[in-house]
Structures are given as C-alpha cells and as structure tokens.
Assembly symmetry: C2
Homo-oligomer: 327 residues x 2
C-alpha cells in the first residue's frame, strides 16, 4: 500500500508538504495541491485512519451491541443506526451479545480497547454490572442501565393502551396479552401495564401470559401460544408484545381453525417488515425506530464532544391499522 | 482512561515490565504477573488496540458491505458473519451500500483507510470498477467481481432445478418464475436457467417475469405480482427468487381469492426466517447461509496470512418442504 513517503517521492515534494496538503494546514499553492492529489490518485493512496485515530485518542467508530442481529427489530435498528452514523462520518462496529452476560462484557471491553467514540447498547437478557469505562459515552435503547450516559425508549405504556383500546373499539370482549420475557425487567414491561389499565377502565376481561428467555432466544413461540389459545377458546383479541410473536399467533390460529380477523383479532408491536408480510398483514404499534436510531447516534456524537445530553428520552408510538383487526 | 504508565505506577514496576506481562514476553515471576493483573483490574485498564494495530499495519477487523441491512437474507448473513468473526477474535465493521455505486466505492475506501484485515462484499445493484487496494483480501458473496480474491456462491442453478422438479412432482402444470433484478447480472440469475431446463425437460409450461431494481430497493413486489397473477389466471405453481417475494405472492393470492396450497403452490428461495413465519409457511430452497458466512470469514483470515485461497467456492442448496406446496 502506498505511503505518504511514496506520494512525496512521486511528486518530488517533502513529506511535510504532502502532509500539509492532506491536513489542510498552512499556505499551499494550487499547483502544488493539484500535484499532490494527482500523485495520491495515481498511487491509490489511502490515508491511514489508524494513525490518525491514535493521535486523536479516539476513533470515529460507534460500537453497537444487540442481543440478536437476525431479529427483525434489531436488524431494522442496525440499518437505521448505520445510516445515521454514516451521514455523520462515523463507522459502526457490530456486536451480537446473544443476551449473554459475559459476551456483553467482552464486547464492552473490546469497544473500549478499540477506542470507540461511543457505544449504543440494546435491551438484552442481562444487566451490565460493571461497565465503568468512564469516559466513553454509553447510550442505552429500551433497557435499564444505571451507569449509562443516556437512555432512549419508546412510550411502551402508551403502546399497551393503544392496543387495548383498539381491540375494544373493534368489538373484542375477551383479550389475551402475550407479554415480554418474565426473567427480565425491561422498559417494554410497561406495555402490559398500559394494556391492563385500559382493559380495567373498560371492564373488559383479559389474561396476560409472559414469555420465557428460551423463547426469546430461539424466536419460537408456537408451543406456548398453542397452549394459551387452547386453554381458553373464548379469546377474540390478542395483543402480542412483538410482530414476531404476532406472526406466530396468526399461524397458531390457522392451525386451530380460528379465522383472523373474523374469529380472533391480532395487534403486534414494533411495526417491522414482518408485520407487512404476513397474510393477513398485522395491525401493530409503530415504534419510531428511525427516530430512536437517529437520537442514539446524535447523542453518542454529542456526548463525545463533551456536551450534556438528555438522561432519558421517551419517543411516542402510534397505532397502524391493517387487516388483522378488520371488523 | 488508565494507561500502561498508571498501571506501572500502581504496582511500583517499570512500564517495560508491565508491557512484558501484557505481551507475554520474557521471564516474569508469578508474583509480578499477579501484581500487574491486579493493578490492571483495579484501574480498569484496557489495552489500546489502536496503537497495537498501527504497529501491526492492519487491524483485526473485517469490513462487511451489504446492499440492504434490513433485508432478511442480509441480516441473517451479517449475524452469521459476526458470529464466525467473533470466534476468531475479529470485529465486524458494517456498511450499507444501498446498492449505490458511489456508496460502495466510499465504503471500500473507508475500509482501506481503516486498515481492515479484509472485506466481504455482497451482491449489489452495481459493479465495483476500481477496487485496487491490492493487498487487502476481498471476498465476494453471490456477485461477480473481476478483481476479488475469492468468490463464494451457492449452487443457484441447482436451486432452480430443485424448485421446478418439486412443483412438477406435486402436480403443477403451469408455472410462473419471479426472477432476479433485470438490470443486474448476478450469480442468482442461474436460478432461472435451472428452473427453465427442468420445465423444458418435463414439457411443463412456464413463464419467467423479472423484477426491477426499484422493487429490490423498496422490497415491495405487490403490484408486479398482482399484474402477473391477473394476466394469466391458470398458474398453479410459483417459484419466487426470494422468500421475501414468496411471502408477497401469498398475500397477493389471498387478495385474488386463490388458496395456497390448494389452488396455487409456492416455492421461495433463501430459507430465511420469514419463510417460517407466514401462514402457511413457505417451501423454499435452503441456502447454506451459515456455511457461506463461515467460508467468507475463513477466507479473509486465511488470505490475510498470505495463504492461497480458492478462487471460487460453490456450496450446495437443498429443498425444504413446508405447507405452501402440500398436495
């Protein structure tokens, strides 16, 4: 690979002059500048970002730690984060913790060793007990972390309320809520609270069944859904805490001979691609994934520059009506 | 952040001694070693990988360039690549080219400037004309590139053959193939060739309709599928060149009142999560995504060490039967 020295030799200039052109320092004639750029192009010179990072003591890299890359919610988040970061000249190092405590810790250490500008840490199965790399901004999304710089969440409670109200509005009388992972405490737990409060205010029957970490990790909810729907055949509305679960409710209903939306109406959560690809498409609570990703990137970059950023940011959700709840 | 100097001061040793412990060089007593590790832990010392990379002239990082992070095929690939890379102590920098020529070039330059160990480049809308960073290994997956180090593909032709044979075996007489992007030339185009050859050998009617770059970028095929299925109401079998398209064939069939699998049978391609989440689940051609990701990572690492790697690697595909083609 061509070095600064090669470029200097190619255009018969000193390394200092070439370096001044590259870093835009001091007066350089247009003629010299042109000569340097031509030599750089000819030799396919690529500036060494590693050396530059060493002198800056930080890189223009953001570490993104998720529990599940292939989960549609996280892949859409990652896509939006990469997009927002790239526009600001930042790169993304992607880390898949699989919700495992030790993997999360390893990745946090790796990010620190690699002098990332900041870290975006997503909801996962476990809590980070010992992240103390004090001067690296840590932005958490949809998780509780005591020692983070900033936390970003969507209004989970509002989402639960909207789901319950919509199911009641379309005529459901007997509701089931398939909620989050029972082993964890997460902001998403507020979906169940919002759901319950609206059901109670409207005197509508409801049952909540929680899911397990095993199901979350395998992404497979079929067995538990079949048990729940067989145990009580009167359910006419289901609110699932993710579109991934809602798609499986659709499948289990088909297996049990219950038509959607005629016999059972379904509302999901997230508004990821899968909710638009099922037959019928799923009514869902739209999480502002794009805005949450943008906020996370902005906050990392802002905190890196020493700015004070909001400790907690709560973004609103909306109901997106599709065929799974048609009257 | 604690430095090597801080660690040395903490345990009353020289920086040289601490550095020797860290790098496992020369004789160090167990007592000294223990003292250093205790100080490192106490100060939460993280070695500076940036400095280490500068002296090595390369980083333990792999650049992964995909056209679409949120497309289920790429998110499963990314997940498997991250997993394989992480096991070998490599990090992944993720780049979303959106299939745009200039973005792909920018990312290739960025990877070079950041001294990645190697690059894994996925099928995209455009060809890389000028990637000439000669000493960085470039492994391509499912795309043609003249100047790559190694190319990894699945047996696309075999996939097309398996799909046609299966549809014929379950009794279909009049087939539709929704093929790849007409503007691009990609290894995946062989799916159509394999499909056609089996239809012809069996004297079964078939029509091929190709898709557009606009549809690929928006991930929305509904309009073109509805036109195709309305134009000829006799189709009783559809082979879609991705599971994403197959899920939309299911939706369009429901809209047109054609039952799957009774009236129309559907085969997808990829075997990504979406094929298991539709109602009914989709019969598909399984791409060995895990093995392809593993091979790509192994080849980058092997080429980085100066080893000769296979110029082209072709992995077999298999048919996975689900309800969408049940007799």
């Amino acid at each position: 690979m061509a070095t600064l020295k090669d470029v200097a030799a190619e255009c018969n200039l000193t390394v200092t002059t070439v370096s001044r052109v590259l870093n835009n320092r001091g007066y350089i004639s247009d003629k010299t500048r042109k000569k340097v750029y031509e030599a750089m192009e000819k030799l396919n010179y690529q500036p060494n970002e590693v050396a530059r990072s060493l002198s800056k003591k930080s890189t223009n890299t953001i570490g993104v730690i998720v529990p599940h890359i292939r989960h549609p919610y996280f892949s859409e988040m990652i896509s939006n984060i990469e997009n927002a970061a790239s526009k600001k000249g930042y790169k993304v190092i992607l880390c898949n913790s699989k919700g495992a405590d030790h993997k999360e810790k390893e990745y946090l250490d790796m990010c620190t060793s690699n002098r990332v500008a900041g870290i975006i840490l997503f909801s996962a199965g476990v809590a980070v007990q010992e992240f103390t790399a004090s001067n690296i901004p840590l932005v958490t999304v949809e998780r509780f972390t005591e020692n983070g710089t900033a936390a970003i969440e969507c209004d989970n409670r509002q989402g639960g309320e909207l789901a319950a109200q919509h199911l009641i509005d379309v005529g459901c009388k007997h509701l089931l809520h398939v909620s989050g992972v029972s082993e964890n405490s997460m902001p998403a737990d507020d979906r169940a609270k919002g759901f319950a409060s609206v059901c109670e205010a409207n005197s509508v029957d409801y049952v909540e069944v929680s899911t397990s970490l095993g199901q979350y990790n395998s992404l497979d909810y079929h067995d538990m859904l079949e048990s729940a729907l067989n145990l009580d055949k009167e359910y006419d509305g289901v609110f699932a805490s993710s579109d991934l679960i809602a798609a499986q409710v659709l499948q289990v209903c088909a297996k049990l001979g219950r038509r959607v939306p005629e016999d059972v109406k379904i509302v999901g959560f997230d508004d990821v691609m899968i909710s638009q690809l099922t037959t019928p498409p799923i009514t869902t609570i739209h999480q502002p994934i794009k805005e949450m990703a943008q906020a996370a990137v902005d906050m990392v970059i802002s905190a890196t520059s020493g700015n004070t950023v909001a400790k907690r940011t709560l973004l609103p959700v909306t109901l997106v009506e599709r065929e799974s709840t048609q009257r």
